[in-house]
């Protein structure tokens, strides 16, 4: 199959799954960014890499193993963090390096291993088949529905853990829910942007949106818009210029962020101005 043929068939699939993934990453990422846990997505992705390697090692479909490994290790470390009062950034570093270290060892033990086997997990894949598109859409709808019904509690525990607890909100359960949702989101998104670039979709659209918006809802809507734009534009230019799809998405998201910084520092838009006028 030539590149043109693959590109022609893959664009709609890549766009549909890309839009679903970008909505999901920006929504989940906003809670992580506000909790000052921006690199948590990265840490989950790296521990998922350990899971992928383990899946290849034991010969089971690696993505589901990766999902279980990422979530269980994140939940376990979260418990350890609470019990031993270890800082959040240290937990992220532990999760990230341990996942990668274990992954490298396991990959080395796989017989007849070829780099191509893990390439799509590391850098994402431009080819998404119909079955994958359907599962990405179903998982995205499920997670966004959970977020819709729990966002008030998640937001309150993010805003002030102590006050949320004093209001009877099960703050610990909310954290575990967020970790689980983030883990599943990472696994879904790995197919598009890969382990190495995943945190860009979690962080860049949200930080860009926070430069403009003054309310949570505005931030969420703007962030989703930036993420969708970055993904769609990134996919299109990757096909046009025959360059990496994941890299293009991340570079467009970074360009939106840099553009926002320039607009903000030039005084063209005030933090609370752009949407206030639109209200």
């Amino acid at each position: 199959m030539t590149f043109e043929a693959v590109a022609y068939e893959s664009i709609p699939h890549a766009l549909i799954s890309g839009i679903a993934i970008s909505l999901l990453c920006s929504a989940v990422g906003l809670f992580l960014v506000l909790r000052k846990f921006s690199l948590f997505g990265d840490a989950l992705a790296h521990s998922a890499f350990g899971g992928v390697a383990f899946g290849l090692f034991i010969g089971i479909y690696p993505l589901w193993i990766a999902c279980a490994v990422a979530i269980l290790s994140a939940l376990g470390l979260s418990k350890i963090r609470q019990k031993f009062d270890i800082s959040g950034d240290a937990i992220v570093a532990i999760l990230l390096s341990t996942g990668l270290g274990a992954g490298i060892i396991l990959v080395g033990l796989v017989e007849d291993f070829e780099f191509h086997d893990i390439e799509e997990f590391l850098f994402g894949s431009a080819i998404v088949d119909t079955q994958n598109v359907v599962s990405i859409l179903a998982m995205s709808v499920a997670i966004l529905t959970i977020l819709f019904f729990t966002y008030k509690k998640l937001l309150y525990s993010t805003f002030s853990e102590e006050q949320a607890k004093a209001s009877g909100i099960p703050v610990d359960k909310m954290s575990y829910l967020l970790i689980t949702i983030a883990g599943v989101t990472v696994i879904i998104s790995m197919q598009l942007v890969g382990v190495l670039l995943i945190s860009a979709l979690f962080v860049l659209p949200n930080v860009s949106a926070m430069l403009y918006a003054r309310s949570f809802k505005q931030t969420m809507i703007l962030s989703m818009s930036f993420a969708v734009f970055a993904t769609v534009f990134g996919i299109i230019i990757s096909y046009q210029l025959d360059i990496s799809q994941a890299g293009s998405i991340v570079v467009v998201a970074a360009a939106i962020f840099i553009g926002s910084l320039i607009v903000k520092s030039a005084g063209l838009v005030k933090t609370t101005g752009i949407m206030a006028k639109a209200r």
Binding site: L34, K152, L155, Q163, S215, A276
Partner: protein, 237 residues
């Protein structure tokens, strides 16, 4: 009795934070809990709000032991010591109130903001407000579920005199007009004498609980309070 605390003791790694505390809060009480830093005021509140569960004794809200159910928290409004608000947290005042709301009725949010005279700033970002204004928002947030009791932990620390007066005026109105009981921790004796109708004097043990006027007209009691405060101060340094 709205709150009934019996034989409450808390121990942090062998060091007593609270020792055999017993007192109650009746409907309409505006109780000022006074005591120096380290007297156990925050520990007492943390136990009452279910944030610290390692204690001996019993705490009952509305005749029910708080160890049995957390439902009482829906009728308790809590205003923390100092609002720790990230300046860049993207939430409006309205959203901050809505996130703690049990119902989805926007009218309740507006009513709560009106009670603290903040309704005109409802769509401002919480991080853009002064500390005094933020503290008023936190009272409104505590009021949004129509609580029966407000718990305030040194709420005016770091707030200018104008906002302090405004704050006490609002609390006074909530207590007299809305019939909300208030329990308020402070180390500012003048403020407590001015606004509270009951006083509890805490220094790990409770050595006075009764009518405010009785405490402030008893020279022996005031002398005892200042002596223990001084001891605590020396101990801290």
């Amino acid at each position: 009795m709205i709150v009934d605390i019996q034989k409450l003791s808390v121990d942090y790694s062998g060091i007593k934070a609270l020792d055999d505390i017993s007192f109650g809060i009746a409907e309409g009480d505006f109780l000022g809990i006074i005591g120096p830093n380290g007297a156990g005021k925050s520990t007492l509140f943390r136990c009452m709000l279910g944030l610290h569960t390692q204690y001996d004794g019993t705490i009952k809200f509305f005749d029910q032991d708080i160890r049995d159910s957390k439902k009482y928290l829906s009728q308790v409004g809590y205003v923390p010591q100092k609002p720790v608000v990230d300046r860049n947290f993207p939430a409006t005042i309205r959203e901050v109130l809505s996130m703690s709301q049990n119902s989805n009725d926007p009218k309740k949010v507006d009513e709560a903001l009106q009670k603290v005279w903040m309704h005109e700033l409802a769509d401002r970002r919480i991080g853009d407000l002064s500390v005094g204004q933020q503290q008023r928002v936190f009272i409104a947030k505590a009021l949004v579920n129509s609580p029966k009791i407000l718990v305030l932990d040194e709420p005016v620390t770091g707030i200018d005199m104008y906002n302090q007066d405004l704050f006490f005026q609002i609390l006074g109105e909530l207590n007299t007009k809305e019939k909300i009981s208030i329990i308020w921790a402070s180390h500012d004796l003048d403020a407590v004498e001015r606004v509270a109708n009951k006083v509890a004097c805490l220094n790990k043990t409770l050595f006075f609980h009764g009518v405010s006027k009785e405490f402030f007209s008893d020279d022996e009691m005031l002398k005892k309070y200042s002596e223990t405060s001084m001891q605590m101060h020396m101990h801290h340094h």
